[in-house]
Amino acid sequence: MKTAIFFWVKKMKYDVTVIGAGPAGLAAAISADKNGAKVLLIEREDKLGGVLKQCIHDGFGLIKYGEKLSGCEYANRSIDELMKRDVSLKLRTFVSKVTKKKDGFNLLLSSSGKLENIETKKIIFATGCRERTPKQVAIHGSRPAGVFTAGLAQYYLNVNGQMPGRKCVILGSGDIGLIMARRLTLEGASVLGVYEAKDSPSGLTRNIYQCLEDFDIPLYLSHTVTRLHGRNRLEGVTISKVDEKMEPINGTEEYVSCDTLIVSVGLIPENELPKTLDVPMSKYTKGAIVNQYYETLVNGIYACGNALHVNDLVDYVSESGEEAGKFAAIRDKSDAETIDVNFTSDFGYVVPQKIVKDSETATFYFRTSRIRENAVVKVYNKDEEIFRKKYLNLKPPEMEKIKVNIEDVSEIRFVMEVSK
């Protein structure tokens, strides 16, 4: 019985608990505190900053600060801001279990073997994303050493100072892979080429230009790695051309000798915990379905940053955290009706997927599903056009942001018109 009393005394209560202390979680915690909430920020690692800790390259913060900062510097600014606020912080702490209660949630935290229960009214998931692994790509052959995801290679090299290898092939043209191509070249490795199964690059144009073209690293579109060679350490890979369905074409195989394969084939939002709470997920973003307040379909649970959808710019990640933190702090349950946001197959996705009919404007983020030139994006309320914007260029790697007046809407539909 003693222990029961002990637990009852110890149980801390918070208004808003933020899980994950990357840029999204930092912004959410700062903003929730600014808006008067009692805030707890939980991080499983021993440092703040999330994946930015290993992003030593520049290009962060152009929108938020008007400067080109490195990822580390960007994180440092948010961390400095957090330190000025009254946010409770738990590092090296893992959320083991979340249970829904009548008026909020109970969280079971584990920290170096110790368990603790806390109560919170709202939860913000800012758990970031993880990389698709080589296992999720169909490659034949055994699994010799020397095969890394781009993020892992980035961690080894930038944080531990370990070179992943000397003769590298990169599979996938995602941004982290491109950044690593430059990084490895600067450190003296030879990068033989970047192979991309799609017929257009996945990474930003800036990175294709400054990370590949600057160093004469070839980019092969519509190509993939189909076999790994080598017993203990990788000795080479078989490259094949692929058809429009991304299936390897017989007879196009080519052997490339290398000791390292770096796989950069995309990121997926990290959402193991919300799934245990039956938070509905979007099949397009692989993150939670949210409304314009970043609230999921489970009352009191919010999501932001890369846990919500994979962003290409950290500035937008912080922005989403700031909004989620604010609304988690100030919003009460709303009785207003919620409507769907629909979109055609010209879009990869649109976030938020739901709109609560109690605000005048809403900010939407979207991606096109393929490269488009001279496209007009229109938003309809039933048959009435409520927004239009012309784009010279739309590319899947580049997320777009628009603000739409949504007063008195009863249905929202995103349409894209492409002039031939």
Binding site: K47, L48, I56, H57, D58, K68, L69, S70, C72, E73, N76, M83, L89, K90, L91, N158, V159, N160, G161, R183, L186, E187, T205, R206, I208, Y209, Q210, E213, D214, L392, N393, K395, E398
Partner: protein, 124 residues
């Protein structure tokens, strides 16, 4: 005469530029949707510059490598030379974000600065 095609990366439009340098060093650019594309091509051909970001060794166990960058862009052809200087640099004193690691590296007039604090603050 130099003929070069490249992608303008100043804005998301990513215009495909074609730049021709005539005998008298005059530059003719086509494919740009705005004037910034001409400046971009001009710089890329006559004075290309890049930001260099990398890490340098430290004597600290808690952070064996410190992320650094050039304070602003350096001439592109100096990138590998500056890398060679940084490869032999070892940090022995505590530094904060923005502190100078190497002053006026290779006479470029540009400093190399730390982009992380070496000393860990106590959090939580």
């Amino acid at each position: 005469m130099i003929d070069k095609t490249f992608t303008c990366i100043v804005c998301p439009n990513g215009c495909k530029l074609n730049a021709t340098v005539l005998e008298d060093n005059k530059l003719v650019v086509t494919g740009n949707k705005c004037i910034k594309g001409i400046d971009f091509a001009n710089n890329e051909i006559f004075n290309p510059k890049r930001m260099l970001t990398t890490t340098v060794k430290t004597t600290f166990n808690s952070m064996p490598y410190l992320p650094v960058r050039t304070e602003s862009e350096i001439p592109k052809e100096k990138v590998f030379q500056v890398m060679n200087v940084l490869r032999t640099t070892v940090i022995k004193r505590q530094l904060k974000v923005g502190d100078i690691v190497i002053e006026n590296v290779l006479d470029t007039g540009i400093n190399v600065i730390a982009t992380m604090n070496t000393e860990e603050k106590r959090y939580g």
